[in-house]
């Protein structure tokens, strides 16, 4: 594990930007800014003609670190400690679970809670609990 610094101001500001993005997507397209919901609709079969817009939204997320690199001169390199097998398993679970539960951290955790959705509250409490239990198990018990 890698120690990280508590960043209340930057995290509050970054969170506000995520919220601003969600509000803008609702204003522009009338859609919930749920990354898993948008990503799964990039895969066939297609139910509507919004493919290009969804791809553009995801590409905006993908290039964001490059914009930060150009603006600040420092690349925001993620610390990935999981090995290949664990990454593949984790990816499968994250993808399956997000679509099976109709949302992830953005769709349920930010947009859903902001709409005071009980389903999103149940979803958020559930994934927080199993994620915390998983980290406790892997870091403190195994």
């Amino acid at each position: 594990m890698t120690a990280t610094e508590f960043t209340p101001v930057a995290s509050l500001l970054g969170g506000a930007l995520i919220g601003a993005s969600a509000v803008m997507l609702m204003a522009a397209k009338g859609r919930i800014a749920g990354v898993s919901g948008i990503a799964v609709r990039l895969l066939p079969p297609y139910a509507d003609r919004e493919f290009a817009g969804r791809l553009a939204f995801i590409l905006g997320i993908v290039v964001a670190p490059l914009v930060v690199l150009v603006a600040s001169g420092v690349a925001p390199v993620p610390t990935i400690e999981a090995g290949p097998a664990l990454l593949l398993l984790a990816g499968l679970l994250v993808g399956f679970g997000a679509v099976w539960g109709n949302g992830c951290t953005s769709g349920h955790g930010v947009c859903g809670l902001s709409r005071l959705s009980v389903r999103s509250l149940v979803a958020t409490l559930t994934f927080m609990a199993t994620a915390m239990a998983t980290v406790f198990l892997t870091r403190h018990l195994l």
Partner: protein, 151 residues
């Protein structure tokens, strides 16, 4: 025009993730590590990200949804389901285990594509397979249809 706007909206989302520190799985895992609270290794930052996101979205949605329709036309697509069924527990429960194993949820997995090398690529590929699997499973008929033997 609508496509370009959606790119910029996605970019704002991604910048938010990076500025918040959420593009780094180590920071996410250190938030999820409540066992590290006694030793000082816990990083509460993710709670501040959610607080900032919810504060802006809560107020912003109220203002936006006063309009009759979105700027680029069509209608507001708001989730209508309210029932607490097995899927709204099982899906997030599975999602949480994967999130806790690697520290990636879908947004940060996409920001890592440019800076996270082959590890990020593997995670995103597996994630898309998992998504497709869940959608395929969800699209099957709820109950098996009885087949009458031809005869």
């Amino acid at each position: 025009m609508s496509i370009l706007v959606q790119f910029v909206i996605g970019l704002v989302f991604g910048l938010g993730l990076v500025i918040a520190g959420m593009s780094d799985p180590a920071k996410v895992l250190n938030f999820l590590d409540i066992g590290a609270i006694p030793t000082g290794g816990w990083d509460p930052s993710l709670a501040f990200v959610m607080a900032g996101g919810i504060a802006v979205t809560f107020i912003g949605f109220k203002l936006v949804l006063r309009r009759s329709q979105p700027i680029f036309g069509g209608k507001f697509h708001l989730p209508t389901a309210t029932d607490i069924d097995a899927r709204i527990i099982a899906g997030p429960a599975i999602f949480g285990v994967g999130w806790g194993l690697a520290g990636f949820c879908p947004g940060p997995a996409f920001t890592a594509l440019t800076t996270g090398g082959s590890a990020a690529l593997m995670f995103v590929a597996a994630m898309l397979v998992g998504m497709a699997g869940a959608r395929w499973l969800a699209s099957r008929p709820a109950a098996p249809v009885a087949v009458t033997p031809r005869g």
